[in-house]
Symmetry: C2
Subunit: 648 residues, 2 copies
């Protein structure tokens, strides 16, 4: 580079200074925005504490977060001065190459600054519509890039859902859960899409904006029911564990289904737009659904198991900080890896969470066990509350709103119809199988299940991701309204609802542990009717898991050398650690029955760090105690026959 | 809004789709970038474990992180295909209003897209220089907005430094530390600025680019020595605590001084540019320095004490998750509050950390104590390692580099001269006072102190913040080189250096606790020469802190009702909690002497979560034990006279 003239240097300096002040202004306003959200969270937490302290239950913390957000949103919208950036308007003459293309991602503007011609780079932001031009910077107020939600806020929530899942009750109800999640979400999506499309034809304006595939997209967004609010309430009240498992399982998995469904609908939309026949478009959409879903599950399980292998075969547990960091990084990598290959990170991270809890957690040092649990618990709590505060604030500050009363009413009706058509028929279907095991889902439980279909973070995150067209704006605004209504109304009435329906509350959350203790002292087992897995796939998998996967990935017994035979034996020996051999001996002395599926004791209770709370036995056990003593052995027919009966 | 023509709707759809794919592409590339950094961190952690396992000490984890970063940087730079965005070049005819102004922040481009004229918003990115135009998107590869460092990566590091500080040794050496931090950093800044300015006059090219105030800015950036690497090594080797305290105190505080100094220099620069006289400019700079520094300390202490008050007077400790969230949010709010009022968040968060450890920590439930410590420990570890990985990667991927060999050599020489002129004279000065207490800093310790002046995260973060002009680019590139040299060379040779200098290593990190035990059993106290605070300000403050501030903010004794008298008594009664009254009784039974300044037992040791490690007594003590048993009572002449002697 040649040396510059003094004039050029002086321009340089001016730009340096202006860059400095630009950075400064942005920095101050970013800090203010973040501070605002933190302040809101602090106020929410203090109010939540006060309500808990005074046993006031009519509003839940998520509802509270939304309300506070709304209030502050109004203040920001109408109370704070707008910062007006300097704007220059440019027209490009019609050039034939440009006319047929979309707007470029960057424009390089050659302009005269301080009387010298220079080139500046500008980045594409958005298209301005007629009414935007007067307020082109409104959306800069207290908003974040929607990608922040997908990349940083949702993953900890979903991961923690998988990580802290009560796997015992989940897997006991796996059939009904899968049916509700897959079939139910699909039904809900198409019913909502169909109803809103039908109603929106009545309005000439809506008919010109919203197409069928957009209505279906809206259906997919709004079919994602939210686990946060409802489970926090269920957990507070200690609702019967099988109803809990159904609500949990459905709401967690249908988030995943809704994401993949919405991507499939977009695939269908672009295939249809590309002029392909309907049949091929549908096939493509189904293919995309299966591919994305299976890919995400594969990535999640693969990286989860890889973490288990690393923690088993290295001595990294000697350094708990390294071990925990590894655990956190591997878990978040799962999300990113899935996103990077255009699969779905949320689904991947959910299954990664399940694997981490089922395998890796058992290999960790006691210190890392406590730390991972409290770390993810804290992250989850903050992320959840941030989301609801943000939902509240964005009602007023987001500039991409387009409120359409017809569509809102249509969406509301469609949501109710979709929920009813999803829950009642599918539960009745599930009861065909469940009745044989004497655990059918009663009508009151169906009511509760239908009522529990709150919409929350996932629906919001899906809708905010793209608000570039009018149709997307209408979808986003309607989703926001529905989220608020369900969280505030249903969330506030859940306690009453449970009372009206005479649902059992105050159920002991850790019956297994007590049972285990009782069993140890009195030897009574299988005094109540045993409950087997209903599906033979689940039974087969449990056997493989117990005999091969767990011994491979953790230090649990039976040893691979006991379950493998023939030519696999040398390999089995190689994959069995010294620790495993020693530990197995200890365990054999303690239990005569086989060691089964273990559950991390994690009541997803907002009051304590999942298991660190009153019980706290997970972490306070001495370092010398074998891992099997720090986790509760879960209900299996073989040695834990005294499982709590399924109540419906 | 009126209904649209079908043509407009079709344009809408195209834009929606293009927005969709634009979001998709950006999302995949962001995910890849993040995944890359996470992968690098995972590899670093595994290598660190391997090195620790094999007791290999020639390279430290931060050096390793840089090296891995460099390797991957090369691969990204030369191996990965560039994504070429669509670009349109526009020229604006000379309009008289524009010519005298700086480039606008936004341009609205009216262009014909799909044969219809529309308006699009574009955001200012940067000025392109001659050689940039061919590679205008290179900086999109694997880089983040520098603000991410300031807002999210540095705060946890600095907060944890304050939070985990060994306050006993720190305050014992406070005089020397303050001198080194304030006077030393200022000397270093001006020496480095002067030397680089002098040498750069020899090069005609440099002379035209770099001014004196920019050289001083460079001096301020590079005067920030880094605590991370050196303290990790010191901690591993358990170096004598007073040398540790000196290195720690200097490197933590001089980060703060360097930030404020660099802002003052910019204030001076803009005052001088505005045509004010030199005297006024200097006065403005000094005023800015004092204002920013005191403001930041005030905000930090205020919010830290507010947290203490909230945790003392509410029963939020019944809900540890809420309590911990509150703690985390309040701490981070400190940073943002300071930034929002244009003070310095880093300084605020450092002092907030000190207050949180000194006051709030004592009010927390046991569960929250464990969680906050492990949470911040983990965050700190991840942030540190991320920074060094990023430093390595950005050598090759950052597009704003301008390598100038003369300036690099000048910077290197100036850094050494500055360090020498800062450490040796100031230590000699400090020895005048220290010699009287028989704890002068010997020559070998001065060598170690001078050698410990590694540059790291803070220097990098300050330099990367603004790289808009050529001078700033040269400064950034040089800083990067110096950071790498010091971390790799000095970091790698520290162990040898300590051996050559015969510095005592393997010193027990918690002599107090043992002393306390001994004292309890044998009653021996004050058998060694007692060591009093040297400064009367410190003595006075200790008295106020002990009698008024601690009883007000925590549940410690003496009670305010005991230390206050007269008309303050009703207020004192109001500010004393029931818990405090009960706890005080328990404490009185345990100790006959006064309870003094307490230290959270936190070896800032990368192997364990500060105190959760082998010792672990902080968290494993039962909930019924009084707080004073869970923290080590620190060296005070009254009851802990047997403090370890200061060795130099």
């Amino acid at each position: 580079m040649s040396s510059k003239s003094s004039k050029e240097t002086s321009i340089d300096k001016s730009i340096e200074t202006s860059q400095e002040s630009r950075v400064q202004i942005n920095h101050v306003s970013d800090s203010m925005t973040l501070l605002l959200y933190l302040g809101l969270l602090i106020v929410t937490i203090l109010t939540v504490w006060l309500f808990k302290h005074r046993r006031f239950r009519f509003i839940h913390e998520t509802g509270l977060a939304i309300l506070y957000g709304l209030i502050v949103g109004v203040i920001i919208r109408y109370g704070s001065p707008s910062y007006q950036p300097s704007i220059t308007m440019i027209s490009i003459e019609d050039s034939p190459e440009q006319s047929n293309k979309l707007p470029p991602e960057k424009v390089l503007v050659n302009m005269s600054v301080l009387n010298e011609s220079q080139i500046y780079e500008y980045d594409y932001k958005r298209r301005l519509y007629g009414n935007d031009i007067n307020a082109p910077i409104l959306d800069e107020k207290a908003t974040f890039n929607p990608e922040v939600f997908f990349n940083f806020i949702l993953p900890p929530i979903i991961f923690f859902a998988g990580f802290s899942m009560k796997r015992k009750h989940f897997f006991r109800n796996i059939g009904s859960i899968l049916m509700l999640a897959f079939l139910g979400t699909t039904i809900s999506c198409f019913v909502i899409g169909g109803v809103t499309f039908g109603i929106s034809r009545a309005s000439a304006r809506l008919a010109s904006i919203v197409s069928l595939s957009e209505c279906l997209l809206f259906g997919a967004f709004i079919s994602a029911t939210d686990p946060v609010t409802i489970l926090a309430i269920f957990s507070d009240l200690r609702v019967e564990p099988d109803l809990y498992a159904l609500v949990f399982g459905e709401s967690v998995l249908n988030d995943a289904v809704a994401i993949v469904l919405s991507e499939s609908i977009e695939t269908y939309g672009s295939a249809a737009a590309a002029g392909e026949t309907a049949a091929i478009s549908v096939l493509k959409a189904i293919g995309s659904f299966a591919g994305v879903f299976l890919g995400a599950i594969g990535i999640g399980c693969l990286l989860g198991c890889l973490t288990a292998l690393i923690t088993k075969f290295t001595q990294v547990r000697e350094h708990p900080l390294l071990e925990t960091s590894l655990f956190v990084l591997m878990s978040y990598s799962t999300f990113l890896a899935a996103e990077a290959v255009k699969s779905t990170g949320i689904v991947a991270v959910l299954f990664c969470g399940i694997c981490q809890a089922h395998y890796t957690y058992n290999n960790l040092s006691d210190e890392s066990k406590a730390t991972t649990m409290s770390f993810f618990g804290l992250l989850n709590f903050l992320a959840e509350n941030f989301t609801f505060v943000y939902i509240g604030v964005s009602v007023f500050t987001y500039s991409s709103h387009l409120w359409d009363p017809v569509f809102i009413v249509a969406g509301f009706l469609a949501m109710i119809i979709g929920r009813v058509l999803c829950v009642y028929p599918l539960c009745s279907l599930a009861n065909i199988g469940r009745r044989r095991s004497g655990c059918a889902i009663g009508l009151t439980r169906m009511h509760v299940l239908a009522f529990s279909g709150l919409r929350g973070a996932m629906a919001f995150a899906l809708a905010i991701r793209n608000t570039s067209s009018d149709a997307r704006k209408i979808i986003f605004s309607t989703t926001l309204i529905l989220v608020m209504i369900t969280v505030l109304v249903c969330g506030g009435l859940t306690t009453q609802m449970l009372q009206w329906m005479h649902i059992e509350v105050g159920v002991d959350e850790e019956p297994n542990r007590q049972r285990l203790d009782r069993q140890d002292s009195t030897g009574e087992a299988a005094s109540q009717p045993s409950l087997r897995d209903r599906s033979c796939i689940a039974l087969g998998w449990r056997k493989i898991d117990k005999n091969f996967v767990k011994p491979l990935l953790t230090n649990a017994r039976p040893l691979l050398t006991e379950t493998c035979s023939g030519c696999c034996l040398p390999l089995a020996r190689l994959l069995t650690t010294t620790e495993q051999l020693t530990q197995a001996a200890v365990q054999r002395d303690l239990y005569s029955g086989g060691q089964e599926d273990t559950d991390v004791i994690v009541p997803p209770d907002s009051d304590s760090f999942a298991g660190l709370g009153e019980g706290g036995q997970v972490n306070k056990a001495g370092p010398a105690a074998p891992a099997s003593l720090q986790v509760a052995t879960t209900g299996d027919a073989d040695n834990n026959g005294a499982a709590s009966p399924v109540l419906f």
